[in-house]
Amino acid sequence: MPAVTETIETVQSVTESGYKWGFETDIEMEFAPKGLNEDIVRFISAKKNEPEWLLEWRLRAFAAWKAMEEPRWAAVKYPPIDYQDSYYYAAPKQKVAPKSLDEVDPELLKTYAKLGIPLREQEILAGVEGAGSTPAEGRMPVAVDAVFDSVSVATTFKDRLEKEGIVFCSISEAVQTHPELVRKYLGTVVPQGDNFFAALNSAVFTDGSFVYIPKGVRCPMELSTYFRINAKSTGQFERTLIVADEGSYVSYLEGCTAPMRDENQLHAAVVELVAMDDATIKYSTVQNWYPGDAEGKGGIYNFVTKRGACRGARSKISWTQVETGSAITWKYPSCILQGEDSVGEFYSVAITNNYQQADTGTKMFHIGPRTKSTIVSKGISAGHGQNTYRGLVRIGAKATGARNFTQCDSLLIGDLCGAHTVPYIENRCLSAKVEHEATTSRIAEDQLFYCRQRGLSEEEAVGLIVNGFCREVLKELPMEFAVEAQKLLQISLEGSVG
């Protein structure tokens, strides 16, 4: 679980540098040959023992991708990516799929423990057997799916969840065990040809999480996926699909880290959410991919497509993201508000320090009547960081009485960074109400002095002020995640003042 308070202290000892998650696990890996072509797509599909329909689905995506051009409209700069110079499949070597944690390579368990995600301890503490077991230390248990490079290595609390009829497993496993569900929903929110990176993902996705919450079930614990890129020259292309059936509720968390490397690595994920009548999905991300060094060398390119469909009446999808890592972030978690009275929310904190670039925001498509959306975006730029909020609120002709409220605040630290706000509003409905507020500010000298006069160091003062600035977003995170996120914000800004 990425969300424990001690996580940061635990991993701080791991490396000396500012990025505490930058170690590499030495483990025997299996790779597909470098490069991308139809054979690689077939290789991945065969490795995963996929049914014919899925292979064809991938091949259609690959064909679409070949015909597409990489998007260049985002306010980010990077050299051309050579898509043939990367591995598209990398998996820890394992003879058979592990049935329980006992069969998982101890090196992998150690890696997750080092990251503050003790897969094993947590299960033992909370008791794998016996539903209704009390959570250890008064802490809510969190079920974790751990994805290491291209494959899921372990999923905890599966039995407990199965008793409620909840499916929580890796997507490869779901393809085998619940093919009808996967086939019914996969690609229905983000189609294969949606955009360049989504098409790439659809062709070569290797793993990710699958969640299905049956009708009327409130998921009894937080579900979490922890992504780790470990191998060199590898891209990570995970695919997550969450379906919340009528009247159900689920809160899902996502965390991610990667070793420190001089090269840039590509992470192109797709997340699809489907909420039926009266269902609620809360999706939280603490994104902490390696951001590159202080000179801007290395780091992850995080080019991600996340979209949720509020299909049912009164359904709700809420995205909360804290983006502290990655060299480049290109990400717009969106909501398609089809069901009447459905609700979409987007709460975001994005930090860019040193030479990080972020172009992030959301899209809210109001289709059904009386649909509501709220957007709260907090961008923080320090060092040479460039931070862009890009958002679209589109209100269709039938979305009578639709409401949107958008608030974009930017905070600048130092005088070499940049903040940009690019909001698009398209309204085709006279009875809709759209509000947009935006501010840009600096941390004022008098605020810093006030804090320092009370005994805080300059960095503590910046941390406190930034956390205050982000409060509206952080309070949307599940409690334990919020604590980690607060510390992460402070660490991300280390060296940004003085």
């Binding site: 006030y450 804090c451 320092r452 009370r454 005994g455 503590e460 406190l464 002020i465 956390n467």
Partner: protein, 248 residues
């Protein structure tokens, strides 16, 4: 003991303090009075280490330590507290979080153990009760949406929690009605004792009816032009600064 000798300081190349000599022995409360633009606020910022105020000469020591060589947070940990004339708003930062972070930062710097949330709340409630403040002040953002009086009371609460050995009150009385003024004065008087000293900076004599100083100094054009007992404040009130200056 706070000892200031020949202190000169400038802002943007303009000399404001032109040689201040002042001693505040431990256990005493001194008042500094002066007209607008005499350098009162500059003195408080120079002593607390605000950026942009350049010391060009002289010295300031507190219990023998050269405070001018210290960072603002080190001065705070050494026991120097400044009650701001215009307390600063920190949007989104809860007052309780701010107070606890500050208190713990100082405790840590002094090698003392940090207080956990429960210990802190207990202490804060105790102090607030003594200052007739409601708990609700802890839950709000630091000074955000506070009235002028609430801001000043919040400064006094911080002082009561941080327990400085020397407090500089920079025109804490400005903009206060008589009830708020009494609360502030009670807060300062409650701190008085052999280990506490204060420098009360004010434009008007009114505050000194409630905080009776041991000594009064008149600051004009960057220098202390006259010092005396509490009666000096009354004299100023009656005759005005110009008369004092003419006589000096």
């Amino acid at each position: 003991m706070l000892r200031i000798e020949g202190l000169t300081a400038e802002i943007d190349g303009k000399q404001i303090l032109k040689g201040i000599d002042l001693e505040v022995p431990t256990g005493e409360v001194h008042a500094i009075m002066g007209p607008n633009g005499s350098g009162k606020s500059t003195l408080s910022y120079v002593l607390s280490g605000r950026e942009g105020y350049e010391v060009t000469g002289g010295s300031a020591t507190f219990d023998g330590h050269d405070i001018l060589a210290m960072e603002p947070e080190e001065r705070a940990a050494a026991g120097l507290f400044l009650a701001f004339q215009y307390p600063v708003e920190l949007p989104g930062v809860g007052n309780a979080t701010f107070l606890r972070t500050a208190l713990n930062a100082q405790r840590k710097a002094r090698g003392e153990s940090e207080l956990d949330a429960m210990q802190f709340l207990k202490l804060a409630r105790e102090r607030m009760k003594a200052l007739s403040m409601s708990d609700d002040m802890l839950k709000r953002g630091v000074n955000v949406g506070f009235s002028g009086g609430e801001k000043k009371r919040n400064e006094i609460l911080q002082m009561a929690l941080l327990k400085p050995s020397i407090a500089i009150l920079d025109e804490t009385d400005s903009g206060l009605d008589i009830d708020a003024l009494k609360i502030v004065a009670d807060g300062v008087n409650a701190m008085r004792g052999p280990d506490f000293s204060a420098l009360v900076i004010t434009h008007y004599q009114r505050l000194l009816d409630y905080i009776v100083p041991d000594r009064v100094h008149v600051l004009m054009q960057g220098r202390i032009v006259k010092s005396g007992g509490p009666e000096l404040a009354k004299e100023l009130e009656a005759q005005g600064y110009a008369a004092v200056q003419a006589a000096a």
